[in-house]
Amino acid sequence: MVKEISDKIKEAVASVEPVETPYEQRGYHLAIEATRTNIVDIVNFFDKSGFYLADMCCVDYIDYLEVVYLFNNHNQVCRVKVTLKVDPDKPSAPTISHIYKIARWYEREIHEFFGVLFDGHPFMTYLFLHDQIDFYPLRKKQVPVPEEDKKLLNSFNPGEQEDGFFLNLGPQHPSTHGVLRVVVKMNGEYMLSAEPVLGYLHRMHEKMAENRTYQQFYPNAARMDYLGALNFNLGYVTTVEKLCGIEVPERAQYIRTITAELNRISSHLLWLGAFVADLGGLTPFLYTFDDRENILDILEAVAGSRLTYSYLRFGGLFNDVDDDFVANVRKFIDRLRSRFSMYERLITGNVIFINRVKNIGVMDETYPLKYGCSGPVIRSIGIPFDIRKHEPYAVYDRINFNVATGTNGDNMDRYLVRIKEMEISLDIIEKALKDLPTGPVKAEKIPKKLKPPKGDIYHTVESPRGELGIYIVSDESDVPYRMRWRVPSYSNLMTFPQLAEGSLIADAIATLGSYDLVIPEIDR
């Protein structure tokens, strides 16, 4: 696959030199250096050959800015990194937002954080920040925002340009699960357009990473996605381990898998309750919380906290689990399995529920390609893309499990896929518990100050919401030079404007609920 793509792109675009990179160390197979003139052609090529834009970010190397495009394929893993050097004094690059819709947000983000102007982008306004910040936050040197850029950034004033009934859903609204704001234009009960406004919880994680050592930054991962904290921990830890070449003992890997799956279930349970609450049924919320408390008990006993776990360590775990843990997990597996039939009767079989979610918010196969969405959202369309299967980490390669998929890509399928995923997670936990080996849970001789070798790495894990990617650039010091988080909710949410267009407000809110959004993760 890699060879093939490498050959093909040489044919398709003139003057391109793809370099094959060691996937084990770098996390991507091909690296391509693009120039201003051929970047659009390259991106076009990837679009044609069925790749999605996994991430797009920018790194400030002081002498130059580098825009990084990361592509991947849903069918067969083939990660490609395309880089484009940009002049730091007057940074600009051609837009690719007409090819990949998700790039519309990525480019806005890069613009406000680095000042790179994307020529031809239709809508270069603030996405995360606001006008009181008069410098580009992620630049290494303090660069003030020029006047004309400021004007451009502030040009989003809904309700002023045209007549219409504008409604602000959020930032404080019961159904946005946090502080998302969606500006909708309404016609009676119908939504004409919806434009999410992010950044109400922008907590500067990426900036913080450049001020903290690798160990010090670790607790932040849990705060980013507090519902799937252990999965984010796992993602961060495995990325750094891969970068430094740390080996992790077998037992630790198994326990990591078990706890991460438990966390996935607890996240899905919370989503399940919140989703039905969005549809107006409040009671399931309390039932799922009741089940969730059981997981929290188990995890609290080993990790010490209820929500924002920091249980993993570079090279292992904070501490070992005991027999009680194993017994409790077994008990919990039985309990939850017996509860599924209750949920079935209470929710899945309810006529009102079925009518509210069936054939609402339908996504087709073009969505994952254009928006790069991932996780249950695309599995509901029928694409069995799961990082746990495609690029296994921890011990997922040693455990046999299915990937839950749907067919229609509507709200009902997203619901069913998540329910099925919980069952699959239970299976994984059961199998992992069966072959849980004995041994140490911590690698020896991990230095106090991690100083990874020079270079960059992109590593992904499957969080409860989808593909979580971490891109780290190291400059051999104990502080990351640049750390970029590719978060799943971000690209999932991007599909919302298109799905909401022309739908009833109640349906749009059901769709919003079906994404399982965690806002701090989007805003970072």
Partner: protein
């Protein structure tokens, strides 16, 4: 009690009865709302594996009183830009129909403020007033969520008033009277719900749930969509009046169902008024049960359900009943 006798002599027996009745009704309304809030919180608690209010008084029984007192002591905010007359008027208007409806409900054979021979018409006429107050509240609040809530409410109430009426008419046919008391008396040899009017009862109950804006038809105040719907901008006692009206409406809807279909105050052994309250509160409980079990329907589904299913079925039922009675 010579004072009372004198007064009776001066103004006439009927008027004194009416005034005493009104005072009684006011007390019943408030006490009933207090009880129902407590019941609702307890019911929801137990359905959700919780205990609900517990620490405030024995079994949390003082909880509603604490809530009431607190609401009394809250600041009455008037947001800027509201349409003041309308904004002030709405919570008052919402209360009038509720009070009037109580006048004609027969709690027992002798316990009825006034037996009007067109009793049911009074109730139906006044209960459609409550939608007016919701509309006024939504419009006067100058809030977009309130406005959407109010418009939804109007559409919903219009749609569901028709099946409501159509489902009551067959009973009127059978009892041959519009007076609520006569209707109860006509059920001496069997409740109407078992005498061919089961469908009418179902339709009435569904429509009544919708009329009182309860889940699964709570669209005007759909929390996850419209924040708090038409009363988003109301605070303190004004909000409390909406709350009071809502619970009283539930009670009235159940009371009418009891009167029309479940034999009203009729029942063995226990006194009539006890039977009346048992039946009514059971129906109230069922409505609460709905709320804590079902998700909410969508707006178009709601309207479709009324116009395409409830109304035709109710019509058919009416015609069949009429036909059989004629034969």
């Amino acid at each position: 009690m010579c004072g009372l006798d004198n007064i009776i002599a001066i103004v006439g027996k009927e008027i004194v009865r009416l005034i005493l009745g009104l005072i009684g009704v006011l007390i019943v309304v408030v006490v009933n709302a207090l009880i129902l809030t407590w019941v609702e919180r307890k019911v929801s608690g137990h359905m959700q594996k919780r205990i609900g209010p517990k620490e405030v008084g024995p079994y949390g029984l003082i909880q509603p009183i604490a809530d009431g007192l607190k609401l009394l002591g809250k600041e009455l905010l008037t947001p800027a830009n509201v349409d003041k007359p309308l904004y002030y008027l709405a919570p008052v208007i919402v209360f009038i129909p509720v009070l009037v409806s109580f006048i004609v409900i027969p709690f027992d054979g002798f316990l009825q403020v006034k037996d009007i021979n067109v009793g049911i018409l009074v109730i139906l006429a006044f209960s459609s007033l409550s939608v007016l107050s919701i509309l006024i509240a939504g419009w006067g609040s100058n809030n977009k969520y309130s406005l959407i809530g109010a418009t939804r409410s109007v559409a919903q109430n219009i749609a569901y008033e028709i099946p409501l009426l159509l489902s009551l008419l067959p009973v009127v046919f059978m009892a041959n009277s519009l007076s609520l008391k006569d209707i109860v008396e006509a059920q001496r040899d069997g409740w109407f719900v078992w005498r061919w009017q089961f469908f009418a009862f179902l339709i009435y109950f569904i429509a009544a749930t919708a009329e009182t804006n309860r889940t699964p038809f709570d669209l005007p105040e759909a929390e996850s969509e419209l924040v708090a719907g038409f009363h988003t901008e109301y605070s303190g006692m004004r909000f409390a009046l909406f709350f009071l009206a809502e619970y009283t409406n539930i009670f009235i809807a159940s009371a009418i169902a009891t009167t029309f279909f479940l034999g009203g105050y009729l029942g063995p052994v226990l006194p009539g008024i006890v039977w009346f309250f048992i039946k009514t509160y059971f129906l109230v409980f069922v409505i609460m049960w709905f709320r804590w079990t079902f998700p909410r329907v969508r707006f178009d589904q709601l309207l479709n359900f009324s116009w395409k299913i409830l109304i035709p079925v109710a019509f058919a039922n009416l015609i069949v009943t009429g036909g059989i009675l004629k034969l």
